[in-house]
């Protein structure tokens, strides 16, 4: 920290992303990436002709990408905004829909970045604990007057809130925005997108990083009424108008149009998840009921931190969270290919035998 840093920035508590070792051949199950390469259509779309145009700015409206997202979801293009990952758009949503006298509410436990953005924008935050079983009780949010952020499926639990519960929140106060972060929705959970036709106070975030095999392209998108999306564009044009690069616009549009590949990849992850849950359960693990491309699991025989360390020593990266204390016993394990999951189970079996 330099002597030049503003007090406000000195007070920030930055997010800690999962480890991203470069060029080290880990079995990488720690940041919920897809184990499958991008769609062949993406590879084709990033043509030599596109590369030769990289001297020109990208389209700040990301029209081709937003059109592809709108078409897939039966929405109008003006109901879509694209971002440099859904993280950027979440940040914009905190900026657009919260402020003085308009705080934010989110769960403890949920995506750890919500807390960081609330701090980044100096917002009052109401942090509402999950139930003992890690489920989210929407009634706890019913009277909150500010903007509500719900990850559904939740991270790092993978557990879902029923759509009917989200609808009750939307109904309860039509002058309040409910932001539903659906980064992990495509692995068997139910999306709130159909509710967009009835509620103009609903904002949905999705990403190309998980189910579209493009974490490295950094593309997220938000869906909502044209007015909500215009608000987010207002923030975007006050921060960084050219926020998505040329190749990611092309890649994203191609990925969104390849429905069969998307279905094939996501259903394979669901199968691999079911297999992994069965195997871990057989090994005595408690596994929370996940609809995401990761699971949160614990064993009574080895603490979460120790399991993380042992696996890392043996070439397998998973994620362990020291805080909050309620999940310190768990590890979050991304669902990779069958080969990756078999290697994990083999290693866990061996570790438990050695205890």
């Amino acid at each position: 920290m330099s002597r030049f840093l503003s007090n406000e920035s000195a007070a920030l508590e930055p997010y800690t992303p999962g480890e991203q070792p470069q060029n080290i051949p880990y079995n990488k199950l720690n940041t919920n990436e897809s184990p499958f390469p991008p769609s062949p259509k993406v590879l084709k779309a990033i043509s030599r002709a596109e590369l030769l145009k990289m001297n020109l700015y990208s389209d700040p409206t990301c029209a081709a990408l937003c059109a592809a997202v709108a078409k897939r979801n039966d929405l109008k293009p003006e109901q879509v905004i694209a971002g440099n990952g859904s993280d950027e758009l979440l940040s914009f949503a905190f900026r657009a829909f919260c402020g003085e006298g308009k705080g934010c509410a989110y769960a403890n436990i949920t995506y750890g970045f919500y807390k960081v953005w609330a701090q980044f924008y100096h917002l009052d935050a109401k942090v509402i604990p999950l139930r003992e079983d890690f489920s989210l009780n929407v009634d706890d949010y019913m009277d909150f007057p500010g903007t509500i952020f719900i990850a559904n499926p939740n991270a790092p639990t993978g557990m879902t809130v029923p759509i009917s519960d989200i609808q009750r929140l939307l109904e309860a106060n039509r002058d309040r925005v409910v932001v539903v972060d659906e980064a992990y929705v495509d692995f068997g959970a139910e999306s709130c997108i159909p509710l967009l036709y009835r509620y103009d106070n609903l904002l949905i975030l999705q990403t190309f990083s998980k189910s579209r095999n493009l974490a490295g392209a950094r593309i997220g998108f938000a869906l909502g009424s044209a007015e909500l999306i215009a608000d987010l564009n207002r923030v975007k044009y006050s921060f960084n108008p050219y926020n998505v690069n040329r190749l990611s616009i092309v890649a994203g549009a191609a990925a969104m149009a390849d429905e069969p590949y998307f279905q094939k990849c996501t259903s394979q992850i669901e199968k691999n998840r079911a297999w992994t849950v069965r195997e871990l359960t057989a090994l005595g693990f408690t596994v929370l009921p996940s609809q995401a491309n990761f699971i949160l699991a614990k064993s009574d025989r080895i603490p979460g931190g120790a399991l993380y360390e042992k696996l890392k020593e043996n070439g397998i990266l998973v994620r362990h969270f020291d805080a909050p204390a309620r999940i310190a016993d768990f590890c979050r394990i991304s669902i990779g290919s069958m080969e990756q999951m078999e290697a994990l189970i083999d290693e866990v079996t061996k570790l438990l035998e050695e205890l």
Copy 2:
């Protein structure tokens, strides 16, 4: 604007980027892009193997890219941070080095986004007019206690401040950060980089969008002491850690390593600029003395707005700024290939003859 927008966000006055018509064959001289394709080494670096890894997150530290930038400039990698365009890093600099009781100062006229970021972060801004001849008098900034932002060369004038003047600012108050935005430095101006060895209160911004032919890849970088760069990383990790995508990291590192191509492209732009200035001057234009890849020019015979419109009707895009009033008579013209500049001069000649 929806009924949900926060008062703070409603008060924003977003930046208006230059027009980016998609798939319309304009002679595009309006957003200071390079007319040349990326280095052949960039095309090679974006290999099939790299594309197949787009399912994995990019390196949040952008180590390969920062190493290439550091090597080129004889700095340590920890003195470099990469961003999603230099716009993102400028925004981070406003956040890191300004705040309550620590305002920002910048010129009127300069890059129009400084005003927007000051507003985005609710900062006190001291706006200091340029001299009548559009030169910047650093003595006007000498006693300012907050953070100083200077575009050098300036936009949209293309005019430079001598490095010795920047040094005087750095000397005058060692507890104040001077941010020098060198987006346009590579076309004949002098960089402040050598001053980094002596001043830990200097932050320099550069970009791949102009002299490295990669506007569409969205890559900027900042250079400073390891402590200043750590401060910017603190902000980055509180906003969007994975801010540069995989292919841009690879493309940027390759572009930075191709010094001969860089030299060839930038010196060609300098030649084309000299030619264009001579031709416009011969046509009676006043052209400000630019060291950038654009020029600000006016004719007594046709107002700036009318020239912009006439050129656009005839397939040539330049940029006209309504405000501030002092430059409303001018058009900003990017320096493209000789073919593009010849087409511009032909059209301007024709337009003037028709008046």
